[in-house]
């Protein structure tokens, strides 16, 4: 997902509450007088014991936001890092909206990018009134007051932040607090600042939604249609009556599933196994993977939409036809499940006037109104308690709040008086849809006089966001192009004359969804393997040739060229050790530039990924160690899937069932990873996703260098590649 914004939301500082200082921003984004307390949007509070509390509008799925947002606040307050506490914000679209989305949610690698100035300004405003409070208490000029490790000091006067919080709360914060000059940064950019969630997650104490247990809570699993789009016609639950702890089974009004209730998770799972159901598949996906792949390829013959503004497809095709040499590639990408470690789940309990939802909630901005609508509640009475999420990779961010909505229906069917926890098993997760869509690409590149003359690129797949309430985020007015289908191709920064990108939307009842790095999961693979083919055809080195295509001088090209050169230099490009082979790829996604060199060995025909050298330019590096961790993780996530993961179907039914046949990357597969971060004073950009796109094509290019096999079918095992 590519979201660009130039919007700057400014800080509204004001003071509130007696024991705690709360600083925030007006919902309309403007500064206003301190009387606007009712519209405040709190990010920072300070308790009288001196602990700085950071209210996190973004959830934590492992990407490091708890640490990152806390860093911004601690930096501007010069707080003692060990005395900074984190809290997940409640669901509140006005106060806690993602400034890029306009609603509360985490995704698109935007958490740091949209929060960077907001959280710093919130903390700077808090600092200003704390300093003013101390100045008044000590009768010294504010300019003489410093803060070191949460201690205010002036001459012999000392006080911790909490001692001044109550007084500061009565003061009016400045309308435009000045933030630190980057040269004064103490924590931002520090090579390693300990993660805020490490202790909880190394002791088993971190609370995930699956760990929530409430008095009287009932557990439910859902028996879903074995084919996407199937409708329940009848079911027989009598077999479950002998299962100890079985409570009952009820069909959801959607017709798509039966809720099976038990006194504990195991009882619900056992009972479900004993229930039989009949389904109407007349509107379901009944095709097998081969038919679906053929269908996608057939769509490439006649693109429905042109994704490059002003492109002349006929002229592009003519230029390719007139070329000296034509490079052709047809690439096929499978459906992919996200498979986060924590299977999806959601707890809903009754409150006096509504419900409380316990969820590793990625999109409160979508979940809250959806559940209010389903249960006919005032959204104000839908409370969301966000807890740690055991991964997501996009799965928790459905535009229809799919799993929370199911939980709401299961809660309603039980009478709305009983807390219900809906649990997905791993089989539910693997077979449950919301996949990275299947995609097909067909590329023809015409070469003339030693250069690219024209690039005819065609893409077919089911759009992810088109037709959902989120489409205005990624679709230009009047356009039929879902940007997430073509991002990374139609906005390529390579100097390519006459580029046309034809898009066709595939239709299938299989629900699809963004998946860590969204469209770039396939577009980077297509671009970066084809560019390698072009370089070979022109007799040029892959790095040198890419640099030629990036020599136009614009800022994107310069930053891409810089990471490319850095990765190549650090990896010893062109000089692999004996028995090693290299491949490279470079790609911009989510405003971040990443190049990766993959080094492999091949023994008895089996490929082993030995090392990945990564260079990343994500602007200001707020937490370098978190950035390294995200690159390492993105590389691992990308690798496992391009090597061997796919969701396939036989007559519409998913073939895979669990990790044994959707085998995750293992420690034995993990290469050495080296991450180099480009020093930059640009605004920070995302790191959760951009590590993923280059690794697949870089591996494919290394495999070609080693074996002469071009990988065009993913996963690579389907292309006949064996891995050690």
């Amino acid at each position: 997902m590519t979201i660009q914004t130039t919007r700057r939301t400014l800080l509204k500082g004001a003071a509130a509450t007696s024991m705690a200082l709360v600083i925030g921003m007006r919902a309309d984004g403007s500064f206003a007088a301190a009387s606007g307390v009712a519209h405040m949007n709190p990010f920072v509070s300070i308790s009288d014991d001196g602990v700085v509390h950071v209210i996190l509008k973004h959830f934590e799925m492992g990407q490091g936001t708890t640490t990152g947002l806390a860093t911004l606040v601690a930096e501007e307050l010069d707080a003692d890092w060990n005395r900074v506490a984190i809290h997940f914000a409640p669901a509140d679209n006005e106060r806690y909206k993602n400034l890029f989305f306009g609603a509360q949610g985490t995704g698109g690698s935007t958490a740091m990018a949209n929060s960077y100035m907001q959280y710093r300004q919130a903390a700077a405003a808090a600092r200003a009134v704390l300093v003013q409070a101390a100045a008044e208490a000590w009768n010294v000029p504010a300019s003489e007051i410093s803060i070191t490790a949460s201690m205010l000091k002036a001459g012999n006067n000392r006080a911790h932040l909490g001692e001044m919080a109550a007084k500061a709360a009565t003061l009016t914060a400045p309308e435009n607090p000045s933030v630190k000059d980057p040269s004064d940064f103490r924590l931002i950019g520090l090579d390693h600042l300990p993660r805020k969630d490490s202790h909880l997650k190394t002791t088993g104490l971190a609370t995930f939604a699956l760990d929530v247990k409430l008095p009287g809570m009932v557990y439910a699993v859902l028996l879903r249609s074995p084919r996407f789009g199937g409708k329940l016609t009848s079911f027989d639950a009598s077999g479950a009556n002998s299962v100890p702890g079985f409570i009952g089974a009820k069909a959801l009004p959607t017709g798509g599933a039966i809720a099976v209730y038990g006194k504990n998770t195991w009882a619900a799972i056992q009972a479900r196994d004993a229930i039989t159901a009949d389904w109407d598949f007349s509107a379901a996906e009944n095709r097998s993977t081969d038919e679906l792949a053929d269908y996608h390829r057939s769509l490439l013959d006649a693109p429905q939409f042109e994704a490059v503004e002003g492109a002349d497809r006929a002229a592009t095709e003519a230029a390719v036809a007139a070329a000296d040499t034509v490079i052709e590639a047809e690439l096929n990408f499978p459906f992919l499940a996200h498979a986060p470690m924590e299977p999806l789940n959601c707890v809903i309990e009754p409150t006096e006037n509504g419900i409380r939802v316990h969820d590793g909630c990625q999109f409160p901005g979508a979940v809250k109104p959806t559940l209010a609508h389903i249960l006919e509640l005032d959204p104000a009475n839908v409370e969301i308690r966000t807890v740690f999420a055991g991964g997501s990779f996009g799965r928790r961010a459905t535009t229809n709040a799919d799993y929370q909505a199911e939980a709401a229906l299961a809660f309603a069917l039980l009478g709305r008086k009983t807390p219900v926890k809906v649990v997905w098993t791993r089989e539910d997760d693997i077979k449950g849809g919301y996949y990275r869509p299947m995609f097909a690409h067909r590329v023809k590149v015409g070469l003339k006089d030693g250069r690219i003359a024209a690039w005819d690129h065609r893409v077919a797949g089911k759009p992810i966001i088109k037709g959902t309430p989120f489409e205005s985020l990624v679709m230009k007015p009047g356009s039929q192009v879902d940007a997430t289908s073509v991002e990374g191709v139609n906005d390529s920064h390579y100097a390519i004359p006459a580029m046309s990108v034809g898009l066709s939307d595939a239709e299938t009842p299989v629900p699809v969804l963004w998946w860590r790095s969204v469209g770039h999961t396939h577009t980077a693979f297509a671009m970066e393997t084809v560019v390698d083919q072009v370089a070979e055809a022109l007799g040029k080195d892959p790095v040198a040739y890419r640099l030629e295509l990036l020599s136009g001088g614009d800022k994107d090209q310069k930053r891409l060229a810089e990471v490319l050169k850095l990765a190549a230099e650090k990896a010893g490009w062109g000089k692999p050790a004996a028995g090693r082979h290299q491949g490279i790829a470079v790609h911009k996604s989510f405003s971040t530039y990443v190049a990766e060199v993959v080094e492999i060995s091949v023994t008895d025909g089996a490929v082993k990924v030995e090392k990945v050298t990564c260079a990343v330019d994500c602007g200001t590096a707020v937490n370098p160690d978190v950035i390294r961790a995200q690159m390492e993780g993105g590389i691992g996530y990308g690798l496992g899937h391009v090597m061997r993961n796919q969701i396939t179907m036989t007559d519409g039914e998913v073939d895979q069932f669990n990790f044994p046949d959707y085998e995750p990357l293992r420690i034995t597969d993990m290469p050495a990873v080296e991450v180099h971060i480009v020093a930059s004073s640009e605004a920070p950009t995302g790191v959760g996703e951009p590590g993923v796109p280059p690794v697949g094509p870089a591996l494919a290019n290394a495999i070609y260098a080693a074996t002469g096999t071009r990988v065009t079918q993913l996963p690579m095992t389907e292309n006949g590649i064996a891995f050690a």
Partner: protein, 153 residues
């Protein structure tokens, strides 16, 4: 059916049907939620606990087979190897989403308790059954070496 289990050095009585996986007794009956459900088929290791000091997958170990054994979970794991592993994990900030890490730590503790100076190959052999979808493997490997150094110091 009522049975007595020894968990983290304490005798506890639990009522569970024969054939119930230990995982669900720990999580749903005893509120010991540090042990995680990941796959239910002993394929991911998120539910790893120690039974008589050996790592086992609690999703596929049945409570009625456990009377008379000593069960240790992430909530009770202790000793030099456990301390070294948890310290190294924090020093190197291994965790990301963290969901698999109880299981990773239980496997790593067993490795170091039985092999104080593991090689990369030893680590791969001991940890291959513990999946991490965040792919923190690079740091897990480094943290196990670091924990080994801490134990030696």
């Amino acid at each position: 059916m009522a049975m007595k289990l020894n968990i983290n050095g304490k005798q506890v009585s639990v009522a569970a049907e024969p054939g119930t996986p230990l995982l669900w007794v720990l999580r749903d009956e005893l509120d010991m939620t540090g042990t995680k459900f990941g796959c239910g088929v002993a394929s991911c290791g998120a539910c790893t606990v120690h039974v008589d000091g050996e790592p086992v997958r609690s999703c596929s170990t049945y409570v009625d087979d456990l009377e008379g054994t000593e069960i240790t979970t992430i909530e009770g794991v202790n000793g030099p190897a456990a301390q070294a592993v948890q310290t190294a994990w924090r020093e190197m900030d291994v965790v990301q989403c963290g969901y698999c890490q109880s299981g990773q730590i239980m496997s790593a503790v067993n490795l170091l308790a039985t092999n104080a100076k593991p090689t990369d190959q030893d680590i791969d052999d001991a940890m291959a059954g513990n999946a991490c979808r965040c792919a923190t493997y690079h740091r897990i490997r480094a943290a196990i070496h670091r924990a080994s150094d801490i134990m030696e110091a």
